[in-house]
Every structure is written in C-alpha cells, then in structure tokens.
C-alpha cells in the first residue's frame, strides 16, 4: 500500500478534525457543538480504519464498528437534553 496515500488520508482527516474541533469550541449554540462532535466520531472511525490498513491489522475494524454503532448516541442524548428544556448554557 503506497505510504503517501495513507499519509495524505491521515492529513485530510487531521485537518477535518482540527476544523470540527474549532467549531466544537466556538460553536455558538449547543447543536453546533453536537454536530461537530458527530463529525469527530465519524473522523475517528475513518482514522481507525485507515490505520488498520496502514499497519495491516484487521482487528481494529471491530473498534471502528463499535464506534460507528454507538457514536451517534451523544447526539441523541443532547437532543433529548434540549427538548426536555435543559439549559443550554
């Protein structure tokens, strides 16, 4: 597997991570932060998958699978928090 492909992929993912992190910290409202958190979960899944390819260890696919399954729970939780009248500040 050409290493430059992996490096570029990692670079793109890290860039996306940094951008969504800025949104997470800056995000004026809570939903903005949650959206950023969702994207970070996705980035982490992709990162782990690419890393699995990079070090040629298929075992990490399970980690990505679990993350894909449960990553979105944060959004559901925060949504319930807001709908129930939680205080966004």
């Amino acid at each position: 597997m050409a290493s430059w492909v992996i490096s570029i992929a990692f670079l793109l993912l890290i860039a996306a991570l940094v951008l969504s992190f800025i949104r997470l910290v800056q995000g004026p409202s809570l939903p903005d932060r949650v959206i950023a958190l969702e994207l970070i979960a996705l980035i982490t899944t992709a990162f782990i998958l690419v890393y699995a390819v990079a070090v040629d260890v298929p075992a990490f696919i399970d980690v990505a699978l679990v993350l894909a399954l449960t990553g979105f729970m944060a959004a559901i939780g925060f949504a319930r928090f807001l709908e129930r009248g939680g205080n966004p500040k």
Partner: protein, 767 residues
C-alpha cells in the same frame, strides 16, 4: 493446661444459659470451675517446688513465633492460685450480692472471661500471648466497671479506666516487641535464661521505660493512679476480685517477672523505688481523707501496689521475700475486706462510714471477720499481715541508696493505714445504732463464706508461717530473684529496728483513729486545693484536648465542598509522591528518542487543547461535549498503541459518560458563580503540579526496566493454560478472576448507592 486456661472462656459462653436454668443456686454451681482450677494448680505445687520452672508448649501461629506456651513456676503459680482461689469465693459472693439482678447471667459471663484472661496472663510464656491476655483483662475490666451502664458516671469511670490501661498497654506492646527482638526470642524462659542480654542491650533504657509505663498504668502507680478509686463504680464483687486481688497486680506481676532480666540496674532501683514509695504514701494519704468504705479500700490498695513496686525496685533478697509475702497477705485481707464492705453496703444501703454505727449486734459474723481482716491490714500480730510488714521494714531499712526515704514513707503510710483499718473495723459496728436507708440484718451465708475463709487463712498463715513459706512463697521468690533462696516466715524476729518501727506505726494509727473527725476537718479546710491539681485533672484536660483536636480536624478536612476534598487529595499525592521521587530516586528523566508519526503528534495536540478548552469553557454542557471529543481522541491513541480492547472500552465509556451527563446535567444549573480569578489561579496551579508530576513519573518509569514485563509470561501462558488468544480478556476473566469479582461487587454497590440516593431524593420531594 491449655484447656484449663481457656475453660473460663468456654464457661463464659455457657454461663448465661446455665445461670438462667439453675436460678438461685447458680453462684454455688458456677463456682465449681474456679475451685476445680484451684485444685488443678495445687497439683503443680510439688513438681514446681523441686524441679523449678516447667514449660508447656502448644503451637498457635508458629511462623510468627506466637504460640500458647505456658511457664509454670513459683511466681505464676502463686498468682494462679490466688486468682482461682479468690475467684471461687467471688463467684459465690456475686450470687448473693447481685441476687435477682436482671443481668446476672451476663455478669457471670464477663467474670469468667476475665478470670480466664487473667490466668492466661500470669501463666503465658510467650510475650505476644501475654500481651493478648493483658489487653483482654483491660477490656473485660471495662465491661465489668461499666456493668450498670445506665449510670452516666459509671460509663465515664469505665471509659477512663479503659483509656488509661489501654494506653499503657500500647507502650507495653512496643516494649515487649523490643525485648523479643533484642533477646532474639519471644519465649520468656529463653529471654530470662541468660541474665545480662537485656541489661547490656543498647535499647535497655527504651525497653525499661515502655514496660514501666505499661505496668504503672495497669497497677495504678502515682501519676496514673486516679482511675482505680473511680473503678469503685463497679459492683463490689468486681472491686473485690479485679481491683484489689488480681487485675491491678498484673503490672506488679510483670515487673516481678522481668526482675531477673531487666532488674538490678540503678535505673530500675531508683525508678521503681521512688515511684513505688510515692504511690504508697499518696494511697494512704488519700485513704485517710475519704469516708466511703469502698474508696478507703481502693486507696489502701493503691498504697499496697506502691509498696510492692517499691519492694521489687529495691530488689534485695529481703525485699523480694517481703514483696511476695506482702502480695499474698494483701490478696487475702483486701479481698475479704472488700466483700465485707459489700455486705455492709448491701445490708445498710449506704457506703458512707459516718452514717453507719452499732451494727455489732445485728451483723456479728461480719463484725468478727472485718476485725480479723482489718488487723491483718494494720499489720498487727498474730496476723500474716504483721509478718509481711516486718519484712517490709527490714527491706526498706536495708535498701541500698533509698533506705531513709523509703523507711520514712513506709512508716508514715503504715501509720495512716493502721488508722484507717481501725476506722473500718470499729466505727460502723460500735456506738449506737444509726438510722440507715435499709433495715440491716446479717448478710446471707453466700456473702459471708468468702471473707470468713480468707480472714481465717490470714490468721492461720500468721500463726504457722511455715505453711505459706515452704508452699508457695519460697519458689515464687526464687522465680523473681532469679536463683533459689531459703525462706522462713515466722512472727517473732526478736527486738530490732523493724519491730520498733511497727510499734511506732501502730501507735500513730491509734492516735489518728481517735481524732479522725478533726483530721477530716483539717483536710477539708487546708488541703482542699489538692483536688484542683490532682492527676485526674490532667487526664480530663488531655481528654478534652483530644476531643477538640478531632473537631478541628473534621472542620478543616470535611468542609463539605467537593473542590476542597479534591484539592486536599491532589496536593497530598503530589507532595508525597513528589518528595519521595525527587528526594530519593536519582533516575534522570530522559526524553528518549521516540519515533513519532505526525498524526500521533496531531492527535495528542488536539486532545491537550480539547482538555484545556473543556476546563476553560463557561457552559457546563459545552464542557460535556468537549470532553466527548477528548474521549474519542484518547480512543484513537489506544488504537495507535494497538490496544483494540481498550479502544472499544474507551469508546463505550465515552458514550455512557455523555448519556449519564445528559441525564444528570438536566437538573444542574449552568455555572452559576464562576470562581474568582484568585481561585482559578490556585486551582490551575494544583492541576498543573499534578500534571507535571504524573508526566515526569511516567517518563521516569519508561526509562527504568527493573524486571522484564510480566506481559511476556502472561502472553505465553495465555494460550497454553487458558486457551485464549485475547490476553486482556484472559487476564480479566481467568488469571485474575478474583479481582474482577471484587470489581463487580464495587460496580454493583455503586449502582445500588445511586439508586438509593435518587430514591431518597424522590421521596422527600413528595413529602
């Protein structure tokens, strides 16, 4: 032998049931055990007299060098006979004295437990077992002192007695361990075999002081004597048994036992001599001014203990003989006097001597027995007490170095005690019959058996001195002195200085008795100030000080704010680990060359920035979201270090944290009052210090490889033994299943705890 000693405990367990089923005659029936023990120990007498000490060995905890080994020699046999003999009469006496008391069965149980622990103490050969029994006597004495626990004063005095004796016990334990280590063995017969090993040892002074503190606390020597008169709150059988004949003598026994090993030096002579003499004087001095019959007897006991300690301190042949004779004499007459006092109190309903009079016709036998016992207390011929007093004077006169000091104090104390003996024997019984709360009549036979027998023994031993001499006193003196000595006990020593001193003492006594009222008034006017500076005030100040310290410490540490607890915990960790790490280990912290890929650095950077953002953000729910991100970052780091199991766990924990936070934060307000800048700086500093410490530690640990990591073996075993390739799970579930079981219970407990708290909050919201 082991069964003999422990039989007390067994009967203690059975006695409540026994007492209830047998009813009134329980006293006589239960007394069978101590009587049997008395006969059993008598059996040892012939062998001990010929062949000296005998060691009987039962292993208990062999590899800790702690075992039930028993040393039966003259000294321990003398005590064992006293305990079991007087114990028999005390149990019978208690049957009468506490007749119909609802808690009588429980009383019997504790009494037997005490008797067994006392027997264990005097007979044990192993220092640790001796200490165990020593503490047991303190505990049982506490239970007995606080027997009528409704009375607040009884509880206070019982606690006082416990604290003093147990504090002494602590010092004693340290001393015993030092002795055991210094002598290389915890077996007494080995320690005392070669005399000088302890004396020459560098720790000698330390050992001596610690053992002395323990013994002085237990035997109520001067600074620590105040708890004994207060112990009179206990029912009279307890006072008669514990606080006169046996328990308070444990300290004296210990000093006598260690005399061959620790004694013989100037430090031993002067400390014991002076403290003993002072206690003797204080005891008799305070006896003179008290009017309660039990208080008088308590102070005379303090005087007797002082005399014994002084005599052992002097350490000459004569002194040791005097000590053993005095010990036997005191046990006899003091136990009977206490029982008689109990009879008086039981019949007349009052303890005050001034309120009693003319009981001669109504209580003839009590009068007769108390006369005989009081004569022995005063030390008049032909009683055994006289022989003991004569020997005492001989010893003090011949005392090296302290002769004058001890003799003067001895004579003055003898004078005062003779006076009090006369007051005790004559005043309540003569004169016209005074009005007393209860209609007095002769005490029941069970309460008279003990005093009559013990008093006549005192008379018998006095007339025929050779019985006690050849029987027990000679081998006891041999055990204490270290080498066998010839002992004769006879009344007439010829005209000599001790006889003169005795006559002087008795004359003084009679004078004091005749003008007793004036003496009392003199005390009240001039010497009232003593009460303000007595040792007890010291104890109370110490007690209040401890209580104040506890309150202050709770106020400071338990402030109720989570952040205070956190700061305290963090700072303690940082200070302790930091000091040990930087102070002692000199391992240089090397930032070894780590081949790090750019993405690892990037992820670490994002995680760090995220953590800072989470701590700085002003919105609580925002912090929760940022923490979510930090969690995912850490999960990535786990994957980078090829730990899939940890990665999954981290992700799951991350998700659950968010879920729980969402459920909890629902009710928490936003950050109401952001802390002041000063607090934030302080908190930042605390956090920063912990952070740096942990980083440095981890780097240092990385550098040092002490042994090859255990993971190598575990990996190898993982498949061979546990047939599993996933080492993490194999460890969790198979190798260290017990730890995981522990963790499961913790998880379960936490869940139930949360459920309970929420349930409580919901209920009191409804109310």
């Amino acid at each position: 032998m082991l069964i003999a000693v422990l039989s007390g405990f067994i009967l203690a367990a059975a006695s409540p049931w026994l007492a209830r089923s047998v009813g009134d005659r329980a006293g006589w029936l239960l007394a069978a055990l101590p009587a049997a023990l008395f006969v059993y120990f008598l059996g040892f007498l012939p062998t001990v007299n010929e062949s000296g000490a005998q060691v009987i060995h039962y292993p208990w905890i062999p590899d800790l060098d702690v075992n039930f080994s028993f040393l039966v020699d003259g000294l321990s046999l003398l005590f064992a006979l006293l305990i079991s003999g007087i114990g028999t009469f005390i149990i019978i006496y208690a049957g009468g004295y506490l007749h119909g008391h609802p808690h009588l069965p429980r009383f019997y149980a504790i009494m037997f437990a005490f008797m067994a622990s006392m027997l264990g103490l005097v007979l044990s050969n192993n220092l640790i077992t001796l200490f165990v029994f020593w503490e047991l006597t303190s505990v049982t004495s506490y239970l007995l002192m606080g027997f009528n626990h409704e009375d607040k004063n009884a509880r206070w005095c019982a606690l006082q007695g416990l604290l003093v004796t147990v504090a002494g016990g602590l010092a004693l334990m340290a001393g015993l361990i030092m002795i055991g280590v210094a002598a290389g063995s915890f077996e007494l017969h080995e320690i005392l075999a070669d005399d000088d090993v302890l004396r020459e040892h560098p720790w000698y002074v330390g050992m001596l002081i610690l053992v002395l503190i323990g013994s002085f606390a237990k035997s109520a020597q001067v600074p620590l004597h105040f708890w004994l008169p207060n112990a009179m709150v206990a029912p009279t059988p307890v006072s008669a048994f514990l606080h006169s004949a046996t328990m308070v003598k444990a300290g004296v026994y210990l000093l006598a036992r260690f005399n061959p090993g620790l004694g013989g030096t100037d430090a031993w002579l002067y400390t014991l001599g002076i403290v003993g003499a002072l206690t003797m004087f204080t005891g008799s001095f305070m006896a003179l001014r008290s009017t309660g019959i039990k208080a008088v007897l308590a102070y005379t006991t303090v005087m007797a203990l002082g005399t014994l300690v002084m005599l052992i301190g002097i350490g000459t042949e004569g002194a040791i003989i005097a000590a053993m004779a005095f010990l036997l004499a005191h046990a006899l007459y003091k136990a009977s006097l206490f029982m008689l006092a109990g009879a008086l109190d039981h019949e007349t309903g009052t303890k005050d001597i001034l309120k009693m009079g003319g009981l001669r016709q109504l209580m003839p036998i009590t009068f007769l027995a108390s006369c005989v016992a009081a004569l022995s207390l005063a030390g008049l011929p032909p009683l055994f007490g006289f022989i003991a007093k004569e020997l005492m004077f001989e010893a003090t006169v011949g005392a090296p170095g302290l002769a004058f000091f001890t003799t003067v104090l001895a004579v003055v104390s003898a004078m005062m005690v003779a006076g009090m003996a006369a007051v005790f024997a004559i005043r309540p019984f003569t004169g016209k019959l005074k009005e007393t709360p209860k209609k007095p009549h002769e005490a029941p036979p069970s309460m008279l058996a003990g005093p009559v027998v013990l008093a006549t023994l005192g008379l018998l031993f006095g007339l025929m001195g050779f019985i006690p001499a050849s029987g027990i006193v000679q081998s006891a003196v041999g055990a204490v002195y270290g080498s066998p000595i010839e002992v004769e006990l006879y009344l007439w020593h010829g005209i000599n200085l001790p006889l003169m001193l005795s006559i002087l003492a008795i004359a003084g006594g009679v004078a004091l008795f005749l003008r007793w009222e004036q003496v009392l008034d003199f005390y009240r006017e001039r010497l009232g100030f003593i009460d303000r500076f007595g040792a007890e005030r010291g104890y109370e100040k110490w007690y209040d000080g401890v209580v104040w310290l506890a309150e202050w410490q709770t106020r400071v540490l338990q402030s109720g704010y989570l952040r205070t607890y956190l700061t305290i915990t963090v700072l303690t960790t940082v200070v302790l680990t930091g000091w040990t790490f930087f102070g002692h280990t000199n391992s240089a912290v090397t930032l070894g060359s780590m081949d790090m890929h750019f993405y690892e650095v990037a992820i670490a950077g994002v995680v760090v920035v995220g953590a800072i953002a989470a701590s700085v953000t002003s919105s609580r729910i925002g912090a929760a979201a940022t923490l979510g991100m930090v969690g995912f970052g850490v999960a990535m780091i786990y994957v980078l270090f090829s730990a899939p199991d940890l990665g999954i766990t981290q992700i799951m924990i991350e998700t659950l944290t968010v879920i729980l936070l969402v459920l909890v934060l629902f009710r928490l307000p936003g950050f109401l009052n952001l802390s002041k800048p000063a607090d934030r700086v302080r908190d930042a500093a605390v956090a920063f210090s912990l952070g740096t410490l942990m980083t440095v530690l981890i780097l240092a640990v990385n550098g040092v490889t002490v042994t090859d990591p255990i993971s190598l073996q575990l990996a190898e075993w993982s498949y061979t033994e546990a047939q599993g390739r996933n080492i993490v799970n194999v460890i969790l579930v198979d190798f260290r299943a017990l730890d995981t079981l522990g963790e499961l219970f913790v998880i379960g407990l936490a869940a139930v705890g949360v459920y309970a708290m929420i349930r409580l909050r919901a209920e009191d919201k409804q109310r």
